[in-house]
């Protein structure tokens, strides 16, 4: 199986803290990490390769430093990588991102499956996967939590939706997005780390890709961020006083008064 995995480098969310006095970001220790959901996508790609043979191509669109993340992908089992990096790609929304990724994926010969993470932790949209599928003209299945079986040109998978689980059959090639329930990503092997050290990470620019400049980056984006602000946290909290019995009694009284119970 020839598998493509889409990875994005993101700032580590849990470290994004806001200084309540100045309402600004606390800058120290913001490290770039692989989007956590994409590590499951990569692991699943590597597992499929181990089961059915083939190769895994890790692809990312991002600034030059995303190279380090792709090196880690090799250590974790990817066979080859592609970095799409060009100032012209900056400021891309999901539409322009999906278009750019699709143009690159189309150049990969005979791929059977594209795996994305369920969503990024910076953009948080989960839109790139389905938009990419449409750009490639392929079926799309979101929230995959298990790949049951793959046969020539076909795959049976399970996915998680709000109401429960669906078992779905799809022809290949297809695009899927995976949830964290699908696997437990492995740690890089020693062999992988050595391989990653010497790996060549090809960088494709807008020119290499031969893309229409009006379709990529900020110019190719349909949406624009016009304002960024920090959410106001409503702090009307009241800690109840007295011993626990009293607190419980007063809580129930308050709830009865406001007629919620």
């Amino acid at each position: 199986m020839n598998i493509v995995v889409c990875l994005k480098q993101v700032p580590g969310t849990t470290q994004v803290k806001i200084n309540p006095q100045t309402n600004t970001l606390i800058r120290q220790d913001i490290k770039n990490i692989v989007n956590p959901f994409d590590t499951y996508a990569l692991e699943e790609g590597v597992r499929l390769k181990e089961r059915y043979g083939g190769k895994v191509t890790a692809i990312s669109m991002g600034p030059p430093q995303a190279e380090g993340m792709l090196r880690e992908a090799i250590a974790a089992g990817a066979d080859q990588t592609i970095l799409l990096s060009d100032r012209a790609f900056a400021g891309a929304d999901t539409l322009a991102t999906a278009y750019t990724l699709a143009q690159a994926i189309k150049k990969i010969e005979g791929y059977d499956l594209v795996i994305c993470g369920r969503q990024t932790i910076d953009g948080d949209t989960g839109q790139v996967g389905p938009e990419l599928a449409e750009e490639l003209g392929l079926p799309f299945i979101a929230y995959v939590n298990k790949i049951e079986e793959t046969t020539t040109g076909q795959m049976r998978i399970q996915r998680m939706i709000e109401e429960g689980h669906e078992l779905i059959e799809t022809p290949l090639p297809a695009v899927i997005s995976v949830v964290k329930e699908i696997n437990v990503p492995r740690l890089p092997s020693l062999r992988g780390i050595i391989k990653a050290k010497d790996a060549i990470i090809p960088v494709w620019t807008a020119h290499n890709l031969g893309v229409d400049p009006s379709m990529v980056g900020l110019d190719g984006s349909a949406t624009r961020v016009v304002k960024i602000f920090f959410p106001e946290r409503v702090r009307h909290g009241e800690k109840l006083q007295g011993d626990l019995e009293d607190q419980v009694a007063s809580l129930i009284e308050k709830l009865r008064k406001s007629r919620v119970i």
Partner: protein, 393 residues
């Protein structure tokens, strides 16, 4: 296209460094330097008193509404029943349509969907309905091609859909075919009346930052909206509206994927999204058996059962109970958080709850900052006390 610092104008005041939400501006030799990762959000440009920051954008021709008019709400159904989020979107859509002095339509795909006229009672002027047995189950391939076809034919200027599993999965595909903008998971919608633009506000960075997004030149402007963010109106059964039956050309579209089976999650007795009262448990419960305590309190209150992420990860409770950024958004009248610390990713799912109660033994837990009433104490003491008291009354 791009962002530049005019080094002659830059005084090295560092204001831009502190306002950059992405923390990618650095002072080098007393001049601001913008590093990789800029999203061109403009926060620095706005804050700079010296007009030293320049953002170049290829100017696009404004107001391209050319023939696009009206607001559409995609009304999702499951098993022939409309979802609550449909009505919430109609309430907001009605408000936006009145501001824009245009009409509001609902679009529904399904087979023998009951209470279709309720879409009118809740605010729609028109309902486009495709009624066909092939649409009994949610078929995303068919939904994508049919919604795209209808939008191309009727040209609405705005389309709203619920940010449900279905909406988040197929609406982006429609946007990609139409090559238009889509904003995910909005929690606020407004109109810039002068430019006739939809102002779409949504949390990013797991709720740490809010962003307002526009789609300037392409149509329709599309957004998915979190359930339970907007309040539905009281239905008016005397409202007049038109139900337009649209033909489904089954021969023209086929689904490539096939739904083989569906296993419903039956542990969810009361639907979280629709619940008026939710009792949630977190890692503070310590072990799977203790979830029974949450269920007991839930039983007494007639509540749905929620969870933070750790109990789901540990397998104490099914994923369908997870509340938060990667779980469900809820908006009950009463949310009781037991042994939950209140991480932003959890809070992202509960912020529209009317009353939040926190029971946590750590007085510094962030949940107390947003809780209406907090009890600092051991949940294994407090919860049984509440149950006893409620039962005795």
């Amino acid at each position: 296209m791009g962002i530049k610092v005019d080094l002659d104008k830059c005084t090295g005041c560092s204001i831009c460094v502190s306002v950059c939400p992405f923390a990618i501006i650095e002072m080098i030799d007393d001049k601001a330097q913008i590093q990789e990762g800029c999203t061109l959000c403009g926060a620095c440009q706005e804050a700079c008193s010296y007009e030293a920051i320049l953002i170049e954008v290829t100017t696009e021709t404004p107001t391209p509404n050319n023939g696009h008019h009206g607001i559409w709400v995609f009304a999702e159904q499951r098993d022939g029943r409309l979802k609550n989020v449909d009505y919430e979107l109609l309430a907001k859509g009605r408000e936006l349509a009145d501001t824009l002095k245009t009409d509001l339509s609902a679009v529904c795909f399904g087979h023998n969907v009951s209470e279709i006229d309720q879409l009118v009672a809740y605010g729609a002027d028109k309902v486009y309905l495709i009624n066909n047995p092939a649409l009994v189950a949610n078929q995303e391939d068919l939904y994508t091609s049919e919604l795209t076809r209808l939008i191309q034919e009727y040209r609405p200027e705005i389309l709203l859909a619920g940010a449900t599993s279905l909406g988040r999965s197929f609406i982006p595909r429609v946007a990609a075919v139409l090559r238009t903008g889509l904003t995910a998971d909005c929690t606020g919608l407004d109109i810039d009346t002068e430019k006739r633009l939809l102002l779409q506000t949504r949390p990013t960075f797991g709720g740490n930052i809010m962003a307002t997004i526009i789609c300037q030149t392409r149509r329709p402007q599309m957004a998915t909206v979190r359930p339970r963010v907007f309040k539905k109106n009281t239905p008016n059964n005397n409202r007049q509206g038109q139900i337009i039956k649209v033909d489904f050309k089954k021969e023209a579209v086929t689904s490539r994927t096939k739904l083989l089976s569906f296993i419903e999650d039956i542990t969810e007795k009361v639907k979280l999204e629709d619940a008026d009262i939710i009792v949630s448990g977190g890692r503070g419960l310590g072990k799977p058996e203790n979830f029974k305590l949450i269920e007991e309190l839930g039983g007494v209150l007639g509540a749905a059962i929620g969870s933070s992420r750790p109990p789901v990860d540990e397998g104490w409770v099914a994923y369908s109970h997870q509340v938060g950024q990667t779980g469900k958004t809820v908006g009950p009248k009463l949310y009781v958080a037991c042994g939950i610390s209140g991480a932003v990713q959890h809070l992202a799912g509960i912020s529209t709850s009317e009353i939040i109660i926190a029971i946590n033994k750590d007085p510094d837990a962030p949940i107390f900052e947003i809780a209406t009433y907090g009890i600092v104490g051991d949940l294994f003491q407090v919860v049984p006390m509440i149950i006893k008291k409620l039962k005795s009354e």
